[in-house]
């Protein structure tokens, strides 16, 4: 047997017996990966990255703030994370997480749909067939996958380079759709009664059905996302998580919702294993919520919110962005947290540094932003 053939045969046997080894070899290629996560419904940043130094907070949120005040997870400069964000807090301590406060997409009108269009297109006038992630992969000829049933705006405009994936056994409607339906049926007692009956029945279903339903939950989607990203041919992925429109009983909703986000992100990291070091995760939402809590222990549509950058090589462990203050005069239109920077300044900078886009390419991809100049990654 020729020596070359022998090596070939050996390599082939390694594929079978040593696939973890093979995976590490792949990772040494240092293929930089991006995960773009949109939180649909407008995340309340004041209940997520909390400015504990802010004397106005307790006055603005007399019932909301005390629900978390004593269990906060401390960050630097007097900020703290919501108690549900246990994994993210650990990432922060390992310098793998960068929260950015008081950001907005450039959109100030408080409509979810329009706000999400801005966040996904990153254009002055949103184009629903032209997303920023698709422009990024186009200039670098990279490949993307959206974990969704149809191509989201972020990835539209790059048909050849992007794909969608979703668990084939479709899940039941998401939890927040059911709660919206309960509101919708307030004036229709019969539909409301049927819905409640249906929900009760559903909760008693056998485990087999439950399992099928869970395929569509965020934690499982994140895990699948990690698996898909490990393919050599996939450079980035997009995930979305709804359920952030907390007009009512926000404390309980966010406690659960943030925990889902936290566990989902951890599942993604675990799945990525060593590739985590080459991964950039960007988490953002369409806008923020009112600084003041409303009459139903929730918050209404606002302006500035927070975003997160994370990954194994992120220059983390600090909170970025300028704090605008919460005085009456410091609030935007006397109601919302005022934006002090554009989300795309941070997103563009992280993409530029991670995928090495030159200035012209970055101008093409994020025409409305002026990228942050600091180092997002540790070298």
């Amino acid at each position: 047997m020729l020596r070359r053939d022998f090596l070939k045969a050996l390599a082939a046997s390694l594929v079978i017996y040593q696939s973890p080894l093979l995976a590490t070899t792949k990772a040494t290629h240092h293929q930089p990966k991006v995960v773009w996560i949109v939180l649909r419904g407008a995340l309340d940043s004041l209940h997520t990255v909390i400015p504990t130094f802010e004397p106005n907070l307790i006055n603005l949120r007399p019932t909301l703030y005390p629900t978390i005040q004593n269990e906060l997870l401390p960050l630097s400069k007097g900020y703290a994370l919501h108690p549900s964000l246990i994994n993210l807090h650990q990432w922060y301590q390992q310098k793998q997480l960068l929260p950015v406060i008081a950001v907005y997409s450039g959109y100030k009108k408080r409509s979810h749909f329009d706000g999400q269009d801005y966040l996904e297109s990153a254009l002055k006038i949103p184009d629903l067939d032209n997303g920023w992630l698709s422009r990024s992969i186009k200039v670098k000829n990279k490949h993307a996958i959206a974990i969704s049933q149809s191509t989201p705006i972020s990835l539209r405009g790059a048909k050849q380079l992007s794909n969608t994936w979703y668990p084939s056994r479709l899940p039941n409607a998401e939890h927040d759709t059911f709660s919206a339906l309960q509101t919708l049926y307030q004036g229709s007692p019969q539909l409301l009664a049927r819905l409640q009956e249906g929900l009760t029945m559903d909760s008693m279903l056998d485990t087999k059905n439950k399992k099928a339903k869970q395929n569509g939950n965020f934690i499982n989607l994140s895990r699948s996302c990690g698996q898909l990203l490990k393919q050599k041919n996939t450079d980035c992925a997009m995930l979305t998580l709804g359920g952030w429109d907390t007009h009512k009983n926000q404390a309980g909703l966010l406690k659960r919702q943030l925990s889902v986000l936290d566990n989902g992100l951890q599942a993604l990291k675990t799945e990525l294993a060593t590739q985590w070091d080459d991964t950039l995760v960007i988490v953002a939402t369409e806008f923020g919520r009112t600084a003041r809590e409303n009459g139903t222990r929730g918050t209404d549509h606002g302006t500035a919110s927070a975003l997160f950058l994370a990954g194994g090589k992120i220059n983390g462990g600090e909170v970025l962005g300028d704090w605008p203050g919460l005085n009456e005069t410091q609030l935007y239109q006397q109601r919302d947290l005022k934006p002090t920077s554009n989300s795309f300044d941070w997103i563009a900078a992280s993409i530029q540094q991670h995928w090495h886009l030159n200035n012209q390419q970055i101008q093409q991809t994020f025409p409305t932003s002026s990228p942050y100049q600091g180092k997002i990654f540790r070298s």
């Binding site: 629903l128 479709l170 339906l181 979305t240």
Partner: protein, 468 residues
Amino acid sequence: MQAIQPPSNKQFTKATIAMQRFALGARPNDIKRIENIAQPWLLNQLTFKPAVEFDSTLPDSNEILIIQEKYKQAQKAFKEYAKHQPITANMSDNKDMQPPKNPNQAIYKQLTADALQQSINSFNSFNWRCLDFFSNHFSVSTQGSIMRGLAPTLEREAIAPHLFGRFEDLLLAVYQHPAMLIYLNNETSIGPSTKYAKMNKGLNENLAREILELHTLGVNSGYQQKDVTELAKGITGWSVARPGKEEKEGFVYRANKHEPGIRTLMGKSFPESGMKQGTAMIKYLANHPITARFVSTKIIQHFISDQAPEELINHLTTHWYNSNGQLSSVFQALIQHPLSWQIKQQKYKTPREYVISTYRALNIKNLSIKQVQSALSVLGEEPFKAGSPAGYSDQQQDWDGANALMARINWASQLAGRKASKRIDIETLISNTFGDTLSTHSYQVITRAESRQQALTLLLLSPEFLRR
């Protein structure tokens, strides 16, 4: 400068009601198109000839009967062939050893797909709704091999041509159609005193009973068992030609199987006159005042409300009577009566109406008929599978159960998941679908949804979209 008149809201609302309640739901621009002509638009459809148009390239009942006969022969030949073949291990690989494939399932899919496709794409969908009504009134189900192919042909061949004609002509066409004759076994019914009657071959009352109970007078309307028997005898000999064995195709009258003698139905006597005897009996039933009232009530219950208002019943019945059962007059009466135009939605959509109106609202161009058919199966109203000659229920209580609602929620949210990213502007969709009839509450909940997908899901599940 010429002052622009704001659109009359009343006309706008009327156009919306016409689209939702009388037709199969609005597609984008449909409401605007008929804004000032809602009633004339509906009335005009009554004059269409033909009332609805099917794809004429698809097989008709005669062809299906021939295909079925060939299939049966192929099956027989195969059995014979297989009997004489040595049993070998690789039989399943042998092409010659495969039994012939039943052609009826493919035919069923094609024919039902055609009706759905036309209903979804038609501007004049009032006529398609009327067709659906009578197709369900004369419900035939796909039990057994031959009915699978034949059931969808009844509405195409017997109902559609007489949709707005005289009710007696509609009845005669239905009772002379192979689908109905075979479904309710009249093709094998034999006059008991003819020489063909034997121990296990004789009178079959199935069709006669359903004519009285479901199609004309209605249950508990005063007819007796002897009326059923008399009608059954009157239509003995109404049968279907055997393809390949007879020169004729389709309906055939077999004089030698007809029960001779005078028949008495509801106290009226019908002299012996062969096939004409049964025809006279059916015409008598078609023009009976109880029939006029029974079918009018069903029409109102279908279009307007499960609790048909007495005033409207009387109105339609009078028109029925005055026009000798001319269905265009009856529908005209329905369209022109103010009680049909109440703003309050009183009808809960059946799954078929729900699915069709959804596809229309979303203006889905590259329609996957497979998805539409699977939706009807998931939501519980597969075409021609009611399994009873009474057809599918038309009443809210039979469709609005908790399970059924959950099925609609899951279906709608999946569909929204697939469609939400398309260029759908929710505000435009609302006005295209509901005109100005959406309640402020629903409007607010939908437009304040946290994502486009959720907004679309809520729109499709709003009380105003579940009802019409």
